[in-house]
Structures are given as structure tokens and as C-alpha cells.
């Protein structure tokens, strides 16, 4: 199998990324406001989101896997921080709407990571003899 199909891990991956996205999305709304420069907000959001994702990933790793949790959850943190910060400079977001946006980013990142896994595992596995 090129992608994870065991329900425990698929649902776990989904829960980890959705939750990380929601938490980081809500926090970014509390940090970034409409008065911020969008570029600065995106850079800071990317860094803060990535840093915040690490403890969340470590919390989930014991239950659902090591690199399989760390890599997508950190990517979710990075993307959520960037996207929610950018939106928060252009519109008034509540923490709830930030959380929903972050959750959506987390799900998209997870799907993208599953696709990347299928492509990389299919393409890069190789026999050399």
C-alpha cells in the first residue's frame, strides 16, 4: 500500500491535523490584527505556527506515530500560521472563524501529504541490483 489505509491511523492523522490547525488558527487570530502589514504577518505567522505545532505533534506522536505525525502536523502549523495571519490582516476574524479556517488548512495539508507520500514512495523506491 502506498498510502496509509488502516482506519486507526487515517482517523488519527485527520484528528491530529484538524486539531493542530484549529488550535493554531485560533491563536493566530489572537496575535495578528487588521492593522498588521500582510507580509510581516505571514512571516511571523509561519514561524509561530511551526513552533506551536511541535509540542502538539509530540503530544500526538505516542498514539499515532513518529514522523508520520511530526511531518504533516508541522506542515499544518506552518501553513495555518501563514494563511490565517494573512486573512486576519484583511478581515476581522473571530477565534472561532480562525479555528475553522485552521482546521480546513489542516485537512488540506493532510490530503496533500498523503498524495506526496504516494508519489514519493511510488517514484523513489528503487532497486539498485
Amino acid at each position: 500500500m502506498l498510502v496509509e489505509i488502516r482506519p486507526y491511523f487515517v482517523l488519527g492523522d485527520l484528528a491530529c491535523n484538524a486539531a493542530a490547525g484549529a488550535v493554531i488558527g485560533a491563536l493566530m487570530v489572537l496575535i495578528v490584527g487588521p492593522e498588521w502589514n500582510m507580509f510581516v504577518a505571514m512571516v511571523i505567522g509561519t514561524v509561530v505556527g511551526t513552533v506551536l505545532s511541535i509540542p502538539l505533534a509530540l503530544l500526538a506522536a505516542g498514539m499515532f506515530g513518529a514522523m508520520e505525525v511530526l511531518v504533516p502536523v508541522m506542515t499544518t502549523g506552518m501553513a495555518t500560521g501563514m494563511v490565517v495571519s494573512a486573512v486576519a490582516t484583511d478581515a476581522v476574524l473571530t477565534t472561532g472563524s480562525g479555528a475553522v479556517l485552521g482546521l480546513e488548512v489542516g485537512v488540506v495539508v493532510l490530503i496533500a501529504t498523503y498524495l506526496a507520500n504516494a508519489v514519493i514512495r511510488g517514484k523513489a523506491s528503487r532497486w539498485t541490483s
Binding site: 506522536a61 511531518v71 506542515t75
Partner: protein
């Protein structure tokens, strides 16, 4: 003995299973079982034993010597090691300073080891020395990634992760070749980050 590495893993030993024993092992079980099924009838060296999580995947009846740089890890491993249905012993040892004669082992297996060996190419050369010419090296390892954004994140987190445990951006496949092994097979388990490697001495 590399005391810095030894102390790092001694510190990690009491809580190691909390992080590693359920999710990661359950996730990797099919791949590890497949890799360790290659264990043959000759002398086998396994590093690093850690808390013995991998022993459950070893086929029964093999003759295995396991080593680890952390005595506290080995203490944690004792129950799992004693449950193995075969000939297995463990020793507190640094891969850089193995006392075995040249060509002593038929096969060497590693599991999430070369993310932590301080000088991986020298460590792999030490393994090659104690292996019979043409002997098999089988590895289950996590490495860095060639792909953005995974490579960026793993490079950023490694300065922190190496203080607490493993490095996340190792180039283990290239290191295996640099140590003089002939690469036979690389199988990707997750992205290009978790993989099994088969090489010969």
C-alpha cells in the same frame, strides 16, 4: 565511549516507551516484520537495542547479539529481551569501539540508530569491519528529506532535536555508500523520510 551520547540516551530511557512504544511501533510493525524476516542462521549483530521494542519482530530461533550505548536503555529492555524465543544477548557498547574481530558477523541490523550515532560514516565503517565480506546490512531508519517543505522543517528542528534525541536530517543512504557498502535496495516507508535500506559489505 561517547559520554555525551550515552548520557543523552540514559536521560531519555525512562520516558522512551511513552513516546515510541505504541503509535510508532504499531505503524511500523509490518515494515519492521518484513525487514527482520531477513535474519538468517549465522551470527547477527543488532544495534541499537534501546528498550527492546524491536525484539517482538525478530523471527524465533536466531543467534543475535544486541548492543546499545545506554545501559539504562538496556535495563529497560531486559523483559523484552528475555522473552525472545532464541539465542539473544545484549551488551553495553559504543558502535565506534566494538571489540569484535574483523568479519565476525554474517548480518547486521539497525533500527532508528544512525539518526543518533555522532559520526555516522565512521560508525558504518566500524560495522563494515566486523561484517564478513558480502555480509548483509539491513537498516530501518528515518532520514532527512529531499523535498520542500519537509527538508526545511527537518533542518530547522534538528538543532533542537539532537539535544534531546535523534537528528532529523541525516543522509543515511549516502552515508552507507560513503562507508564502502554496496547499496542493494532502498524502500520508502513514509515519504522519503522513513525507509529500509539493504546493503552488502
Amino acid at each position: 565511549m561517547d559520554e555525551l551520547t550515552e548520557k543523552k540516551w540514559d536521560r531519555a530511557a525512562p520516558s522512551f516507551d511513552l513516546m515510541a512504544s505504541y503509535g510508532p511501533e504499531k505503524r511500523w510493525a509490518p515494515f519492521k516484520r518484513e525487514l527482520f524476516a531477513n535474519m538468517g542462521e549465522g551470527r547477527i549483530l543488532f544495534l541499537a537495542v534501546g528498550t527492546g521494542l524491536d525484539v517482538q519482530f525478530f523471527p524465533a530461533g536466531r543467534s543475535i547479539l544486541g548492543i546499545d550505548i545506554s545501559q539504562k536503555m538496556l535495563d529497560q529492555a531486559s523483559t523484552r529481551v528475555s522473552a525472545y524465543e532464541g539465542d539473544i544477548s545484549v551488551q553495553h557498547m559504543d558502535v565506534h569501539q566494538m571489540p569484535f574481530e574483523d568479519g565476525h558477523f554474517d548480518q547486521v541490523f539497525t533500527s532508528c540508530t544512525f539518526c543518533s550515532v555522532p559520526d555516522p560514516v565512521v560508525g558504518l565503517q566500524a560495522l563494515r569491519r566486523v561484517m564478513k565480506p558480502g555480509g548483509d546490512l539491513y537498516m530501518f531508519e528515518h532520514t532527512g528529506s529531499r523535498y520542500f517543505p519537509f527538508n526545511l522543517m527537518m533542518n530547522l528542528i534538528t538543532p533542537v532535536s539532537r539535544k534531546l534525541g535523534p537528528e532529523l536530517n541525516r543522509t543515511t543512504v549516502e552515508n552507507v555508500q560513503a562507508a564502502g557498502f554496496e547499496l542493494k535496495k532502498v524502500q520508502h516507508v513514509y515519504l522519503d523520510v522513513v525507509k529500509t535500506i539493504h546493503a552488502t559489505a
